[in-house]
Amino acid sequence: MAITRRMPTEFGYVLPLLLLMLSLFILPIVLMLARSVTQPEWTLEHYQDLIETSVYIRVLGRTLRIAVITTIVCASLGYPLAYWMRGLPPQRQVLAVALVVLPFWISILVRTYAWIVVLGNAGVVNRVLLDLGIVAAPVAFLYNELGVVIGTTNVLLPFLVLPLFAAMVRIDDRLLQAAESLGASRMTIFRRVFFPLSLPALAAGSILVFILTFGFFITPAILGGGRVPMVANALDLLINQFARWETAAALSTVLLVVTLACFAVSRWIGARGATA
């Protein structure tokens, strides 16, 4: 009796939400996973379908490619930004963080739309290039993979910069001073002391960007102009156009497994970074 005395009340508080989430979130996902292997009976044919149909392989390959490129671009833009922010005086640091967070509060639709204004054929950049005579015809920034990468990078950069900056701020200045007093050059200090200390956060942030790109839907739909479908857009077609639920369920399962696997890796890196 003593064991169960405290349990019922607090667990009772959790119970309503737990029931809601189990029945309206976990159950639908489990049913979807089940559907991918049980329709019309136990079968792997829907996965076989995915592998054998070149369209899905192309979409998966493109998604992977865009995710890798976006991750690399985010890391190579975000690292210098976070490093620069670390060295700013406190007040400017607050301002910089505010500017990094600002886009979080603006609908992703709006941010994506803005790129049409900036990079479209009649956009700001193209008109400047044309007026200056640098190019003879508008450069096709949009409705191709380049446009999608620009859009995803823009949306996902804060996810990398914020944790990276937080980790960099935590790096003890005295470590750098110690290295300096021992005669290390600035380059050596960065390479041998600072960079290794910031690496776990960089890795974790990069994996986060990778995961999030993998599920992107809005940016490829708008900036890709239907020509650069990623996994999520393929799911949209499978469900809303072709009503091929089983194939959609199988493709979702692939996406879910990749996402959760990456998430597990990032947690593992995060845990290692915390103990190191």
Binding site: F25, L102, A122, A166
Partner: protein, 262 residues
């Protein structure tokens, strides 16, 4: 020299981040129907075309209704659950917390596909109830995260003192816990509200003939370029700025800094 390169890079990347927000606002006051930037003249025509279009207003109505109802359900159940998770001592808490946070980790499109198939089978596809359920699920992680932090930072002994002085648990909740947590409660509610008001993907899949503002914006953007969207965008930005201001203010009053949430 090196510092100059670093500073230039930093500023350029910041500019890249903020460019979309900065460009949309002036565009919304443009008198041209093309995407000319800078705008050739000032006009409010895009605001008129938003406010004068019954379909947009209907979408606004649905958006507001769904956001209000779903965020309130998420707040009530999520707040209660957060209290149970923080104060409770039962087994499986990390797992249960994982279930509550999961909608933030699982890609929205998977939730969308799963709910689509599920709702189609139980007859909720394209219904207002289905839409509200979907948005509630997506709002839960925000409420649980914000409320867990708030409850954890509230001294458990104060609750115990009230109870030991003879207050019933209802009275303790009403007179001690709630007043102290009120700022965070509002912040959590606004988080869930904004999450719902901004939601595109799940809505796109399950809403059927119902339009919300983001769903309509998305459909317009896929088909054509329509400057009305810049007016709505600017209104949304204004709303976000007000919301974030209110959240920061409330959390500060509740003694919680934004950093502790992430």
């Amino acid at each position: 020299m090196n510092r100059l390169v670093l500073a230039t890079t930093g500023i350029l990347v910041l500019a890249f981040l903020c460019l979309p927000a900065l460009i949309v606002i002036p565009m919304s006051f443009s008198s041209a129907s093309s995407l000319e930037f800078p705008p050739p003249g000032f006009s409010l025509r895009w605001y008129q075309s938003f406010l004068g279009d019954p379909r947009w207003l209907k979408a606004l109505e649905t958006s507001v209704l769904v956001a209000l109802v779903s965020s309130t359900i998420a707040l009530l159940l999520g707040g209660l659950a957060a209290y149970g998770l923080v104060r409770g001592n039962f087994r499986g808490r990390p797992l249960i917390e994982g279930v509550f946070i999961a909608p933030l980790v699982v890609p929205s499109v998977i939730i969308a596909v799963a709910l689509y198939i599920f709702f189609a089978r139980i007859g909720l596809l394209g219904s207002l109830l289905g839409l509200i359920i979907g948005h509630t699920v997506l709002g839960v992680p925000y409420v649980v995260l914000v409320m867990s932090v708030a409850i954890r930072s509230f001294d458990h002994r104060i609750e115990q003192v009230a109870l030991s002085l003879g207050a019933s648990s209802t009275l303790m909740f009403r007179r001690v816990l709630l007043p102290n947590l009120l700022p965070s409660v509002f912040a959590a509610w606004i988080f869930a509200l904004i999450a719902s008001f901004d939601e595109v993907i799940v809505t796109h899949f399950i809403a059927g003939r119902y339009d919300t503002i983001p769903k309509r914006m998305f459909n317009e953007l896929v088909l054509q370029v329509n400057p009305t969207i810049t007016a709505i965008a600017t209104l949304l930005i204004a709303l976000s700025v007000v919301a974030i201001g209110v959240i920061v203010l409330l959390l500060r009053r509740g003694g919680i800094r934004m950093q502790s949430l992430t």
